[in-house]
């Protein structure tokens, strides 16, 4: 399936990427994170198990075991700090 992935704030800067379209053969947000970690470098570092980040699917924050529907808009970002 195809996913649109968005990155924000510190992660956007570290990855040097705001948005990409990705072929994805896994099922859950955790599978996607593993696929991105496998890129190594800043990806492995910033998405490592101990690191804190949030995943939103179609603009709702989800847990890592959430399933990803085809054509989902997935966003990966640090904990929010507005207000």
């Amino acid at each position: 399936m195809t996913l649109r992935i968005l990155y924000f704030a510190r992660l956007r800067e570290r990855f040097g990427l705001a948005e990409e379209t990705l072929d994805f053969s896994g099922a859950t947000a955790a599978d996607l994170v593993r696929q991105l970690q496998a890129r190594g470098g800043v990806w492995a570092e910033n998405l490592a198990a101990g690191r804190t980040f949030r995943v939103a699917v179609n603009q709702e924050i989800v847990a890592l075991d959430a399933p990803l529907p085809d054509h989902a808009e997935v966003a990966i970002f640090p904990p929010v700090t507005g207000g």
Binding site: A56, Q59, F77, P79, V80, T81, G82, G83
Partner: protein
């Protein structure tokens, strides 16, 4: 119900006046303004830039307001959050809640702020003498939001 994300400054007086205009059933309006400070984590902040997730931000704020309306009998709610570059002293966020009585207006206003701090996709980047830094999420904000799930 008004929810806005904008670069421009907002006007607390005008927003609260708009809430009460032509109405005689409101007994209480609790409001909150959050401002950019010149100091954070012990060092000077010359400016900050607020990034957000367009689309999700508006949805997340609407969800917070809906949740507040389901918990308390509210007469009106306004939430405005600024994005872009802000200087110390600049207002960042406004939440105003109108109700019949003060208890529900205060509670809902604080609830919306606590949830906004942990649920709405905004990120602050500060400019300091040591360069730029992303603001880290605070455990105290998670604790503040968690209060509302215990009750």
């Amino acid at each position: 119900m008004r929810i806005r994300v904008q670069n421009e400054a907002f006007d607390l007086g005008a927003e609260v006046d708009a809430m009460r205009a032509g109405r005689t059933d409101i007994g209480a309006i609790a409001s909150f303004v959050g401002l950019a400070r010149d100091m954070n984590e012990g060092s000077g902040v010359a400016a900050m830039t607020l990034e957000h997730y367009p689309g999700m931000t508006e949805k997340a704020l609407a969800k917070l307001v809906d949740e507040a309306c389901s918990r308390w009998a509210l007469l009106d709610v306004t939430v405005i959050h600024r994005v872009g570059r802000l200087l110390p002293g600049d207002p960042i966020v406004l939440v105003a809640v109108a109700g019949q009585h003060r208890g529900e207006a205060f509670a809902a206003c604080e609830f919306i702020m606590d949830y906004l701090k942990t649920q709405a996709p905004f990120w602050k980047k500060e400019e300091t003498v040591d360069g730029e830094r992303w603001v880290e999420a605070r455990a105290s904000d998670d604790a503040a939001a968690a209060r509302w799930t215990d009750s």
